[in-house]
């Protein structure tokens, strides 16, 4: 046995100087980005960061613990409405309102986790789907949440700093995103994460090794809901206006697609999936502006898919991507990444 083996190597975040270097480059690039990019792309980056937060949290539940949720838009809505309401009604500062709203979402996650203990596979999918739809229905009927008219986000100040533009908000959002991804990564590497994975891989064996299934499954739901809640709270300030219709079933399915496309059960995969599909989602919304092609898509959508058509092209594309990934690359982007890495290691042989 190697007496000098450093066991911390197994769990440390930065396994080599190369990774530290690239992380430094990434952070630098993220810091410069809003100064060189057009304002619209700063908005796009903000949108992508929100998706990263939600999808990383969703992945803790779906990818690591092996439970499904098709209702994450519900937690997302709770976070968005919670943050705004805590700020306007209870006069909480933003940086307090946000985690509090996240905790409210976590509480709902815990409650949803309880019946989920008895449900598996498709039954759990239906139950969580129902939760997502019900949540937004109820929110749309409550007066302080603005009913169907929705809510405007209040002015945002952190200490003396008045946050007005997308660029300002970018500097709030990106550090929070990086922090949350790192926390998730640490959770996965330690006791709780191992318990999650053990439940996914062999729940009976996990139980006989002392893992309390009730505790860890509900915990996974709660943590995942917390991430969605925080993401929602931040989203309210990206849009500056929220209404119940935003948080529909398709949003839940979109989050799930991002996690699957990225690669369930890896940390960086879903980050990639969230960025890529987040970008795609926004770009597809503009597709109608493309000459000829846009008109053609519109006609196609109207005659074959829905009458209101137009806006739902991204749903069709997302559905298609989901099916293709399931068929050809079940490990998602993460799987492609691993194969490319192998390929380059072997190259040119």
């Amino acid at each position: 046995m190697d007496m000098k083996r450093d066991y911390y190597e197994d769990v440390q975040v930065f396994t080599s100087k190369v990774i530290v270097f690239w992380l430094g480059v990434l952070i630098l690039a993220l810091a410069i980005f809003p100064f060189v990019a057009k304002n619209y792309y700063v908005y796009v980056a903000n949108y992508m960061a929100i998706n990263v937060i939600v999808v990383v949290g969703l992945n803790l539940l779906v990818g690591y613990t092996g439970q499904i949720s098709m209702g994450h838009a519900g937690f997302f809505a709770i976070g968005a409405y919670g943050t705004i309401t805590l700020m306007t009604q209870a006069h909480f500062p933003f940086l307090l309102a946000l985690p509090c709203a996240g905790l409210v979402a976590a509480l709902f996650g815990f409650l949803l986790g309880l019946p989920a203990l008895r449900l598996e596979g498709p039954y759990l999918a239906i139950a969580t789907l129902g939760f997502g739809i019900t949540t937004t229905q109820i929110i749309g009927k409550i007066k302080i949440f603005g009913e169907r008219q929705g809510l405007h986000a209040p002015d945002l100040t952190i200490g003396p700093w008045h946050i007005q533009t997308d660029k300002d908000f970018y500097f709030v959002l990106i550090p929070i995103t990086i922090l949350l991804v790192l926390l998730a990564r640490n959770i996965v590497k330690t006791k709780v994460g191992r318990a999650f994975i053990s439940i996914r891989d062999a729940d009976i064996a996990a139980e006989t090794m002392g893992v309390n299934l009730t505790f860890y499954k509900t915990l996974a739901f709660a943590v995942s809901a917390f991430y969605a809640g925080v993401g929602g709270g931040l989203y309210a300030f990206v849009l500056r206006f929220i209404e119940p219709e935003l948080f529909n079933m398709f949003m839940s399915i979109m989050f799930l697609t991002m996690a699957v496309v990225g690669g369930l059960g890896s940390m960086m995969g879903p980050v990639g999936g969230a960025c890529l599909l987040g970008l795609l989602d926004l770009q597809l919304r503009n597709i109608l502006e493309i000459p000829y092609f846009g008109q053609w898509i519109k006609a196609l959508s109207e005659s074959y898919f829905t009458m209101t058509g137009v806006s739902n092209i991204q749903l069709i594309v997302f559905g298609l991507i989901l099916i293709l990934i399931m068929l050809f690359e079940p490990l998602g982007i993460f799987g492609i990444w691993i194969r490319t890495k192998k390929y380059w290691k072997m190259w040119p042989f």
């Binding site: 959770i187 006791k191 891989d201 996990a206 002392g210 943590v223």
Partner: protein, 262 residues
């Protein structure tokens, strides 16, 4: 009071009496084997002890406490670990992490301290290192160094069985249930397994309840044997006596001679 005792245990699946009035006692430190033909109810007995199945009647006493009806994780906490007949490993974790899960009950890092794993001197960092050292000892003991950082799903069958044993040992149990530890192994792997089981008994002082079809192994390492058939006990006693029992010969050895000789 006995160290471990099963009293009149019965369980039924539909009309099938999988276990029907099973009773036996274990003394601390012995290796006690359970034999019987396929479908005799051996694995079902383990599942009852573990709390995976809920027996219809009877008692399971461990260190003077009735553990019947307790949930599997509580049974583990009481000090009982097991391996499975059909390997139940965490396929997408490596060997180290699989065995680390056996340390679950000894670790205190929760969600928050885990999330704040900032460096070697954080609580979570120190705890991870301490328990990995412990697991490394098990990896050395079972000769698993080569598999240490590999995902277990792709490892050979015999190695997977070893890892399962390692994971159970990491729990530091007082009673260890082994469900056919040698099944599917080649002669050399079997020899190693026999050696380890003896070591676990002698050096770690762990009491072992063993299910095994390989009669050579059973005769070699068990102190006493209980033979079952159709969920009922046939006989109990020293290996040489059980081996000669006419009903055992008829119900078990006679039918499965090929398998026993293997």
């Amino acid at each position: 009071m006995a160290f471990f005792e099963v009293k009149d245990l019965s369980i039924q699946f539909g009309g099938l009496k999988a276990l029907d009035g099973i009773s036996f006692e274990l003394e601390k430190g012995e290796v006690y084997a359970i034999i019987g033909p396929n479908g005799a109810g051996k694995t079902t007995l383990f599942n009852c002890i573990n709390g995976i199945y809920q027996p219809r009647a009877g008692q399971i006493m461990f260190k003077d406490k009735n553990i019947r009806g307790k949930k599997p994780d509580k049974v583990a906490k009481a000090g009982i670990a097991r391996t499975f007949q059909n390997i139940e490993l965490f396929n997408n974790m490596n060997t180290m992490e699989n065995i680390m899960l056996g340390r679950h009950l000894y670790m205190k890092t929760g969600l928050f301290r885990g999330a704040f794993l900032w460096g070697k001197n954080s609580f979570a960092g120190k705890e991870e290192v301490a328990h990995r050292k412990k697991v490394e000892e098990i990896i050395d003991f079972l000769d698993l160094q080569a598999a240490r950082n590999k995902l277990v799903g792709g490892l050979p069958y015999g190695t997977q069985k070893q890892i399962e044993l390692g994971r159970a040992l990491a729990l530091e149990p007082e009673l260890l249930l082994l469900d056919e530890p040698c099944a599917g192994m080649n002669a050399e792997e079997k020899q190693d397994m026999i050696f380890w089981v003896k070591d676990i008994q002698d050096e770690l002082g762990i009491t072992i309840l063993l299910i095994e079809h390989d009669m050579n192994m059973v005769m070699d390492i068990s102190d006493r044997i209980l033979a079952l058939n159709f969920g009922r006990p046939i006989t109990e006693g020293k290996p040489e006596d059980v081996q000669k029992h006419p009903e055992v010969l008829k119900a078990y050895l006679g039918e499965d001679e090929g398998e026993c000789a293997a």
